[in-house]
Amino acid sequence: MSDERLQLPPKPKPSLFAIGVWVLVVVFTVITARRVGFSFSGIIEDLQRPNPVLDGLWNIRWGEMFSERSRKAFVETLQMAVLGTTGGVIVSLPLALWSTEVGNPYVVPRVILRSINNVIRSIPDLLWAGLFVLGVGIGALSGLLALFFFSLAVMTKLTADTLDGIDMGPIEAADAAGASHSQMLRTAVVPQILPAFSSYALYDFELNLRASAVLGLVGAGGIGNRLDFFRNRGQWDKLWGLVFMFFLVVFIVEWVSVRIRRRLV
């Protein structure tokens, strides 16, 4: 080994584009912060005023975590999240396949599918829930449907993007062996995306679990209904108990999910 220092080629300068993007990000953040009237001193001042919501936090009713009604609401939330995720995930696989070139040789249906998916995806889950509450009525079914469509859109998009980057070699091999189109998809394509797909499905479940807390605020069932109930009555101590419980559930689910996902990909 010699001690001679190696001369590296001159470092490329950061591109004008990159600099421009950074400047824009900073300017945009500052402007919006001023628009919204954000100030740190304001926050601290607000925190010092008497505040029943915060008082509730200091006197949490832990008992609320285990009350009969809260438990029922939790079970409903979990049911919504599980069913919504499962349904969305199952339907998303064929939709993702049909909206990509490997899975669907015909351009027109492909473009149509992608456009429909873009529309579905542009509607946030809370709005879905609101729409279904109007259409189907107040209750868990609306929440379930909202989560289904939300999952469908997210999963289809992520899976379709993964499909665009797969190895074409096995597809050629399946075609050369005389496989039919669906046989080719099953044997040459699906095994390639399955780990990523499962990982997305778990991530989608995490998203849905968290979303299902909010859905109740517009009447779509689950734990959110109960949160809304306490909020309207100003029972902040009970509300915080419930929030804490929910936090715990989400934390555990994510902890498990992250561990599984790490092994998948």
Partner: protein, 258 residues
């Protein structure tokens, strides 16, 4: 039997990759195709199972009129023709046996493929194919956990599982080292002899070509410029095919010695 008559392939960009080809390959022959890069070797091989369509001319493969096949007939043709690839084209994320079972797809009902439950008979055929290339003990290993030589043997087993009449191999050893290349070529030769499978192999190392071929076909710019037994192929013939003098890059042994 494979018979080209006045066959032409002109690609979209205007490149003529096959020019007025007249060629007949009999059942059970072991043919090696040589030629410079871009001479049209892959094009010839892929025309046989319809992966590349002819622009004009006739091509008959075991009684299939290749240029005029319906989609269903083309699948039937492909089921009779096994293919082996330079890059192996295995599904890395799944087991060796699942890769080999891909060779059975044309016999297996679609619903069984979809749920991944293959009939016992087809699993037996796949297992026998793996045994022939002596890798049956790795049947449940993931394909990504094999060495290059082992992966190509799985590639051969997949083609064999089709119980094909013809095997096409497009530079099957180009990504392998010399000893492994010989192992793979020996399996191909032996399979062709034992089972009477017509085998067509693209190679770019001349010493490998002469060592294994019963018959060598030389291509230059899409045209057939040599057709004769491997024994008739000396350095002079190769220089004619290549249109230049030979270098160390053209033989595996010399190149390996570099």
């Amino acid at each position: 039997m494979i018979r080209f008559e006045q066959a032409n392939v002109i690609y979209d960009g205007g490149v003529t990759a096959m020019k007025d080809l007249d060629l007949e390959i009999g059942d059970g022959e072991f043919v090696v195709i040589v030629g410079l890069s871009g001479a049209g070797k892959s094009t010839l091989i892929r025309a046989i199972n319809g992966l590349v369509p002819l622009t004009s001319g006739q091509l008959d493969v075991n009684g299939h009129d290749v240029p005029n096949l319906s989609r269903k007939e083309r699948r039937a043709l492909r089921s009779e023709v096994g293919m082996i690839f330079q890059g192996f084209n295995l599904v890395d994320r799944t087991s060796v046996i699942n890769n080999v079972l891909m060779g059975r797809l044309h016999q297996v009902p679609t619903w069984r493929t979809l749920i991944g439950r293959y009939p016992d008979r087809d699993i037996q055929i796949a297992a026998r194919a793996l045994q022939r290339v002596e890798i049956l003990d790795r049947a449940y290993v993931r394909a990504s956990n094999l060495s290059g030589g082992q992966r190509q043997r799985v590639g051969i087993a997949r083609a064999l599982a089709q119980e094909p009449k013809i095997i096409l191999a497009d530079e099957p050893v180009a990504s392998l080292d010399p000893p492994t290349s010989h192992v793979v070529m020996k399996y191909l030769q032996q399979i062709s002899r034992d089972l009477g499978i017509t085998t067509i192999v693209n190679l770019h190392f001349l010493d490998l070509a002469t060592a294994y071929a019963d018959r060598i076909i030389g291509l230059r710019s899409g045209e057939l410029v040599f057709d004769g037994p491997g024994s008739a192929c000396d350095a002079q013939v190769f220089e004619d095919i290549y249109g230049r003098s030979l270098t160390a890059d053209d033989t595996m042994e010399k190149q390996a010695a570099l």
